[in-house]
């Protein structure tokens, strides 16, 4: 009976996670507001199960330097570090009203959706149209479309991260802007470090 309940809960969390991911594309503001008020963290597990599955599948397609489990630990570490960073920095900026910690857990997890989408699409394209690209009409067209897709995913990521921080910290625009610039300033050397140690070519952030 307990196992049945657990199974239903797991399936419900997975479906809820997929619906939220889709809704973040359709109505990001309203969806992120709802996510920030949720106290159910089962969706975070569902999301990381998805990331884990992706890591193992892509490792089978193109072998990584490290085991997928090591990479997954790196992603979880980065996720936890991001939450702690934004919580501490947000609390420093918002001394009048203490910031609750719980909203960060869900909102920051959902900022991984554009990253995961980009990685999944990139893996599929790697199989369908393996690189390198050439200076032909088709090669040029594909390059333009692919880079446009990458830029769109980056824009979506920035938008979702901004909304996630807005609802988690409740800070005004300029303070959030400083917070995000500080975060990017830390992320750039961190990404170079990940590349140097051959963890990720493009960081899974």
């Amino acid at each position: 009976m307990d196992f049945k309940k657990l199974a239903i809960q797991v399936v419900a969390d997975a479906i809820s996670c997929m619906v939220n991911a889709f809704m973040l594309a359709v109505a990001p503001y309203k969806t992120m507001r709802r996510i920030s008020q949720s106290t159910d963290f089962g969706e975070v597990y569902a999301l990381f199960v998805g990331v884990c599955a992706y890591m193992y599948v892509s490792h089978a397609i193109r072998e990584y330097t490290y085991e997928p489990f090591v990479l997954l630990i790196m992603i979880v570490f980065h996720y936890a570090a991001t939450i702690i960073f934004f919580y501490i920095m947000g609390s420093l900026f918002q001394k009048e009203n203490p910031i609750p910690f719980a909203p960060f857990i869900n909102t920051i997890a959902y900022t991984l959706i554009p990253t995961l989408t980009w990685f999944i699409v990139n893996t599929i394209l790697f199989l369908v149209l393996p690189p390198p690209r050439h200076m032909t009409l088709l090669g040029t067209t594909f390059s333009i479309v692919f880079i446009s897709f990458s830029v769109v995913m980056l824009m979506w990521k920035i938008l979702i991260l901004y909304i996630a921080l807005r609802f988690s910290t409740r800070l005004p625009f300029f303070r959030l802007f400083y917070l995000m610039v500080t975060y990017i300033a830390i992320i750039i050397p961190y990404s170079i470090l990940l590349y140097e140690f051959q963890f990720f070519r493009v960081p899974f952030l």
């Binding site: 990001p28 390198p132 880079i147 005004p172």
Partner: protein
């Protein structure tokens, strides 16, 4: 009795919606024109942001292609190896 209960539920639903909407104070960038610009820019992104992202990204990449040409193709190859 049932009608009154229905009204009560609707009221609670509306109250909850309002609480959600006003959970975060609206942004005030201290300069009215800047606040207006912020609202004008961010307002449309609250629903279906891809309608704006896709043409914007396509135009930016086409402009980049006209500027740097073949480097775009190299960048695409590097990104494709990036996963």
């Amino acid at each position: 009795m049932a009608q009154s209960q229905h009204k009560n539920t609707s009221y609670q639903h509306i109250e909850r919606e309002f609480q959600q909407i006003f959970a975060v104070k609206p942004n005030d960038l201290r300069m009215p024109w800047l606040t207006a610009l912020y609202k004008w820019t961010t307002g449309p992104l609250k629903r279906m942001p891809f309608i704006y992202f896709v043409p914007l990204a396509l135009c930016a990449v086409l402009a980049l292609y006209l500027l740097v040409g073949p480097l775009i193709i190299r960048l695409a190859s590097i990104l494709q190896y990036g996963f």
